[in-house]
Symmetry: C2
Subunit: 414 residues, 2 copies
Amino acid sequence: MIILNNAKPIDGGITAPKGFKAAAVRAGIKESAPPDKLDLALIVGDVPCTAAALFTTNKVQAAPIILSKQHAANGTARAIIVNSGNANACAPNDTANALKMAESAANALGIDTQDVIVASTGVIGQELPIAKIEAAVAGLTDSLDSKGSEAASKAIMTTDTFAKEFAFEVEIGGVPVKVGGIAKGSGMINPNMATMLAFITTDAAISAEMLDKALRVNNDFNSVCVDGDTSTNDMVCVLASGLAGNAPISTEGEDYSCFCDALSNVTLNLARAIARDGEGATKLITCNVTQASSKEAADAIAKSVVSSSLVKAAMSAADANWGRILCAVGYAAGQFTVDNVQLTVASKKGMLTVCENGKGVPFCEETASEILGEEEISILVNMNETHEGSEGAALAFGCDLTAEYVRINADYRT
Amino acid sequence: MIILNNAKPIDGGITAPKGFKAAAVRAGIKESAPPDKLDLALIVGDVPCTAAALFTTNKVQAAPIILSKQHAANGTARAIIVNSGNANACAPNDTANALKMAESAANALGIDTQDVIVASTGVIGQELPIAKIEAAVAGLTDSLDSKGSEAASKAIMTTDTFAKEFAFEVEIGGVPVKVGGIAKGSGMINPNMATMLAFITTDAAISAEMLDKALRVNNDFNSVCVDGDTSTNDMVCVLASGLAGNAPISTEGEDYSCFCDALSNVTLNLARAIARDGEGATKLITCNVTQASSKEAADAIAKSVVSSSLVKAAMSAADANWGRILCAVGYAAGQFTVDNVQLTVASKKGMLTVCENGKGVPFCEETASEILGEEEISILVNMNETHEGSEGAALAFGCDLTAEYVRINADYRT
């Protein structure tokens, strides 16, 4: 876990903030799933919530994406219903079934269908077994619980190997405010402006406009790349109940910054967890770019390094093949020079500079191998184009490429 | 082999056209290479040649790239010296060693250093053993042969599993004109405007300007993607001896078109061979996009499909996971709609439409599996945005993603 600023990590995930309950059940959506696999989750606010959401930029948009965009457009929502095992994308009756999913949650909860966000993840192109979902909704609402975050975080998993759940607390004007989040990741992950599935709750009192702004600024999911494939179903959605009792946030300022501190801790840790849990991955790769000519260049370079198949394959073998890193720096978009690039590999075992001024320097291969043998490794790229601490900095998160990735994806539909 | 228009395939590769000799030797550049691995090749024109070349767009440019750009700038050249086993990129004394390589060939041949193109491929960052190359050049010039194409095509291989060599003949104004080419590919392959190593010869009489134009138009290497990594050393270079005796080509017109017919057959077949021989690949994937809104959109879509890790992994298992194909269509750059997309998989075993109007259609999985089980498969993407035969069409070549790719690249430097 990374902890930035003064945010305090707390337990409870999306049900840590005041005013939220969650639940999950097994509806049996994917028949070949293990009998205990939860596959349908519901997240509900005790009161109407302000809401903000970001959606995939893929021109193929799953039916729940299209519907949820409409439902989130007015800046309010109260419930999120989400299934795994079927993406409800490009499938027979996809539009009707997304709406039915929203209606069935709304009816069971006694709220407007317009206030229900719908999300789906799984195989593309197969008809969603909507009857199974409708039949499961009663049990779902019955089991809503103020400790239901963990169950919900498990229900949204597909090929994920662990559930991803974080919560942080900050003080806003002396009042404790909490932000919690869950996410699913693993494959088809290369969010680009929008993201994979992530659901965040907060009890902050905050306007829809500022919530939207905070989400866009702290959308660390854009810094994750597992395999370069931007999904048809990516979504991140945040609900704010306002029950913390802080003075409502409606402009930028100290309160807004405090809120962003909590939110960014949640998004950053979820993003790291998603990268670490990339399909077949054995390690988390963080690329930290500094002193680039611009923020945009830094972002492109960091993303390029963690996206390179050759870098990812080298890291799986703890091989400090810095030429591939430099190569990936070089083909990143943007105008910059590579003559002054310094490359350093780092982990808790230490750090080692392997390239200075765009050329290799002698280094001990055994030390490099020991550093890169860790489960969390960093590639530090100092572009030396501007001064230290300049805006031209960025972080990106990725994972290594292993034979297991291929095995998982060669045979995903069965 | 694909044969377009009226070009006739012939034997002889780069030494098929009149006025070219080639040779290859083992200089011992990569010590761990098998003892019989050729690693240094020379291609020489009997007479001064017009020349055109394209180079990598990576901002990290290997020393031979920088030098060869200067040497090709005046539109003439007479020799190409190329080594495998070391990229001479970002390495100690790289600039000096690239120049020494050119000088040593020039001295042995008695030509100007300015007329020598230099290319290198292999590991980045290690010093080129220039003394070994200089020592080997005498043996290289001694063994120049008008049947030397095959040896040269072998010498430029790195992780390639087969040599890539093609030649075609056309008639220009009743005169037979030949174009031959060799290429190396395999890894770090995602040419973008420039390309991997490919060397082409022709005996056509053609101006440097028209040669350059023909090369840019017929640069099919840009349609290949193995792993999305654009190398620091990509280069394609064509030399024209003018010895065929055709009326010199200095403008567009019928003669120029005939020449392009021969050239495009060479580049297309080399590009296909490079994709088929992608690291760890078991099959060639061709994506054929038609009826897109523009040529640019078609190019982006075709490249996006063959670049998708998820599509590539599915194809390795002969799995008609069309949702991933549609997803890759959807995240391609450009403005277009996906509502009318038709997806068809094809091979010599038949063809099968799996998606219509952006949604899956029922199909027989066994048939799909049989079609995709072939070594050469096609994915046909009809965007249905314009009429049949419109400009909005493109081809791209890729390969499947296998565990073997990861194995090769986890441990490439040793």
